[in-house]
Subunit: 363 residues, 4 copies
């Protein structure tokens, strides 16, 4: 079992929905990096629940406490551990989850994996709440990246089939990324957000939920970062992105669309721009060739399944009685987590980018 | 730089298109496993070039030589290293690749990464030829899995937009998988293959290439295999699959489609079947919840970009002369690698499945 | 930089002498293991300072707070993170350490490594205080091991050249180990302890310090645990033991003495005992052959250098003034850390033993 | 099971005494490093058997064949795999080893670990022959280190209690290291070698064997290389050194002797030398404080047990007959492997030093 990731920038995430606290230990951050706490909290606020009429009404007080690794706001080079207290760790009704595993959740599979000893309260270690320390870790990495000219931003590319505009793959705009990475429910086209909200609201009213897509761009990565084969940029990013709960698909550049293209369309022609820099005229590669960055924007898309916790009655099994049964998930749940997932995807992109640079000797 | 993968089943792939030899070292295979060489060679033959009117006419003699790790055909528990000789390691014309990097290839990015010292002949370590040792490693793992009731098979799900039928996500048929995993250019519906061949042939005639999709299923994995977060089943599979050259997208179960579904559709209801086993009525999860197997078929899809080597003239840069230039890739190249990619995807699935079981104490 | 260790049982230690807190995250503990808190605290008390007239008079309140990973005292299989608050994290006088690095300490080398950004207060992340979370982690592993018939114990084998009796290498007595692993300043022969205390007291009076040896035994490990070469039992134990501050030597069985023996003396003859079990008549191998356990007691010795913090005036450099200077380390420091190091060595042995079993599929 | 080591410079050693071939795959060597083959062969010759009247009369033709990773003698950055053919892989009499495991060998423990499937011929994967690819890998790293001003050398510090002079810990002489690292059976004082040879010859005549010590120095490492705790320089070196067959002890600087010293003796006072460089007046730390290099010579000692293969009759067990039995190991075996072990220790030191620099961003 492992909630650890990375070779140079090692992050270990711990905790569960109802444990005393959750947190993250980060080993390998470069020493001497000033961390602006306010910017960290701004990223965490983007992920926090309860900001939107269409989101859950729960409130989290996610102010992380840094136990070590910072001295007067500057990284010391030693492991940095930050902890977020859970205020609601008492729970009476969780035993029903062990009895009636929720479809689409890890209740059943975790029970198998850990012989029924897993903490099932609120999803335990499998809870979406664990993305809070991930956003925290990403916010640190983001500041280190920005100091090196690397900007990460994302937008909700679709919800329930309702699309936003896409990034321009060649000319991703830094100002746009900076706007998006400061927003809750970031979209390129504000009109798209309204339509997405309607789809979410429709689902919510029916006790149902919807999924969606997040498109993310990393701007300013130098060419030549990455490795061949299994530690290529795609592998590195994907292994982290699939660690985000509810992610079921990841693709880079043209991605699945590339399966429909001709080579003459999908190949990105190289050219020297007026400054003499090497560029590509298109960017179907999403900034990665052979697992190594080209220097063009690194672009990928992540697919989120609909929130599995829904009020609608569902079929499930009754484990102690060993019979088929019905379940209606109570409590307040986001009918769509995608708006809050965008900063989580960005956090993963920040961590993966920093690891990529570190592995390639470019940090 | 790392062409190594895995924690319990560690594979290290080495070599390049024109080095003396290529191969793989596998550390961690369980001891006492009989390896049928003929079955290994059958898998390698599926990947070998030149089997098809639409494939390249090159011929490889890919008989691997096992240097160690087997004693009378049985694994000893010590590292198993197998080597495939390259017969065509002399090459005169590779310097042009350093001059004119091929669009869509790693020529340019590898040059950046390794300061121009990378072996560029035939793509070097980034060549598709490196999938031969991957298939070899997968063929060993496959035999170990089959002895434990696990079957892996795949089919070409689409080429140039021309689709095959899909797997039935709940009732994947073992007989079908066994048929597919013995075939070159495996498809469920033979009529689809004919249409795909037409698309490939059209592209070939125009000096162009096409991409496609491979859908793969792993049948018989027990429930409870996997880990939360970053070493979940999806992360494990994806990090290996994105190591296959030309893969630009991976999704599991409903995958990207999940972004269009409601929770009430995408959640797979649990039930007890007539034998008292836990099943799900649908399988949009692709057999994975919370990074852990459900016991239902594990299903994923992999997107391959079109072969970047095309005869059509393309724009590129002339590095020594520091100017824009033109390039037409000569030599014989597959106008579509997807048919040969299916056994490669299966190999990765076999390796990842064995690792998954080993990590979960289920081997 | 990495304060992480292990592949199956991953421990990450964080914090520094004067950070808000220190702690450890443990990923990979088997689920369903009851943890007796009292036994954990007993192990931590053995390491705590201020128990002895010859030890430092500082007081630590080392009660760890478990943030997650336990549910009603039972491991859940999720990462277990425990935190120990630092009560004395304010410190005025640490800047002198940056000016005048202490001989024998990491002040100077850490300054180089982290560009002067390292937290130097009380030694920072290099402080002996970091062994508290190590003992905590070891105490958990110890309980899991004991349930499987494995007992770990150690004694102070020498201080300032004053020796204790040694373990009987073949017939290590479980009752003896159980006595020792409950004691502060454990020795086999109580008379030896008195002589050692005299040596420590002599050094203390002179503002000096002394080093010593800890001999440790692991009883009850099954034969067949371990790996060849670089992940053999010796490598595994040594990599962890050398992570304990002040350890400068590790040997197994006859160890350095083996360099003086003949093969006919050092080879341990196998025989069947009356129960038909395989034993060796001697145990110069320390229970390990080829990196794999024999089933005989695993025995090793660890050398600790004298506490580098001494009151006696020492030569050092004045970094800002770039000149040679003098230093007398003030504050209360153990004139000998070896008595308190014994439980730390045992903790490392517990963690390494559990990892060894896990890697070998014997857990 | 793992014969792999390293994070940045990953080496995987494969093969056994009687497999078709043995070899090593090295992933992570910096690109653009010229490798002088002659110097590699010189290092391998130092380890080769049969050079000495007191060594075994077997002959190895250990010319490694580089399969990939070099282009015109220069590293490409891709994995470098080198293979050494075994010419004597046919063996009739190995089954006796499975019947009568040799005391002091891994025959018995490997049989337990791998369920009797291990290749037992000539010790299989546990054979000392596996140090040949280790020396090969070390010889590559040595050339890369020398280009960066780092020199590695060792001498046989003792055999059967007969000592050589030691390195001057502060003023290790580069010319001396260069002399030693070119010699078979390197000693500082040639007279010591004669006495050692007498001890070896005495043992040989009696069908017995002797052990010894190798002291090794690494000169020219910059200060500030290493990490705290478990990936400190000592942990890194020790985990590799204990992977060398027959090593039972490792210590750094004063090592075990530090247990007899006072702090005021063992602390190495810092001072500025006439050039303004930071030095220490003594070097009891062996060049490492807190796991990080000081810039002084890194010095360590490694203890080798006597060769377990001896002609003298020994007690052992008869496994198939489940009874106690006698064994006399036939064949030609070194009565002392220590002279040939010196280049192996140096090779490990070269690999560990390169990894240390790479991990610390100093390569």
């Amino acid at each position: 079992m492992s909630s650890s990731w990375g070779e140079r920038i090692k992050i270990s995430i711990f905790g569960g929905s109802h444990t005393q606290a959750i947190g993250v230990n980060i080993d390998g951050l470069p020493a001497g990096e000033m961390i602006e706490e306010e910017q960290v909290l701004r990223q965490m606020a983007r992920r926090a629940p309860g900001q939107d009429p269409t989101a859950t009404a729960r409130r989290e007080a996610d102010a992380p406490r840094v136990l070590c690794g910072l001295l007067e706001g500057v990284t010391t080079g030693a492991p940095l551990c930050a902890v977020i207290e859970n205020t609601n760790q008492r729970s009476k009704d969780y035993e029903s989850l062990r009895r009636l595993p929720r479809p689409g959740h890890a209740d059943y599979t975790a029970g198998l994996r850990y012989g029924g000893h897993n903490d099932i309260r609120g999803g335990g270690h499998f809870s979406g709440r664990l993305t809070a320390p991930l956003v925290y870790a990403g916010a640190l990495c983001r500041q280190i990246l920005e100091r090196r000219g690397v900007t990460v931003g994302s937008h909700v590319a679709a919800i329930a089939g309702e699309p936003d505009l896409g990034f321009h793959p060649v000319n991703v705009d830094k100002a746009l990324l900076d706007r998006l990475n400061g927003e809750y429910f970031p979209v390129i086209d504000p009109a798209a957000r309204e339509k997405m909200r309607e789809r979410i609201e429709e689902a919510r009213k029916e006790g149902d939920s919807v999924g969606g897509l997040v498109e993310c761009a990393v701007l300013g990565l130098p060419g030549g970062a990455g490795n061949p084969m299994f530690q290529g940029a795609e592998s590195l990013f994907a292994s982290l992105l699939f660690g985000i709960p509810a992610v079921k698909g990841v693709d880079f550049g043209a991605g699945f669309l590339a399966a429909y293209l001709r080579g003459s369309q999908n190949n990105d022609p190289f050219y020297y721009d007026e400054k003499g820099d090497v560029k590509t005229r298109t960017n179907f590669a999403g900034g990665i060739l052979g697992g190594i960055t080209t220097g063009m924007p690194l672009i990928f898309e992540t697919a989120f399944k609909p929130t599995p916790s829904i009020a609608k009655e569902q079929d499930t099994i009754n484990l102690p009685e060993h019979k088929n049964d019905k379940l209606s998930v109570t409590g307040r749940h986001d009918p769509c987590i995608v708006p809050r997932a965008a900063p989580v995807v960005e956090a993963a992109a920040c961590i993966a980018s920093l690891e990529l640079l570190a592995q390639s000797g470019l940090l």
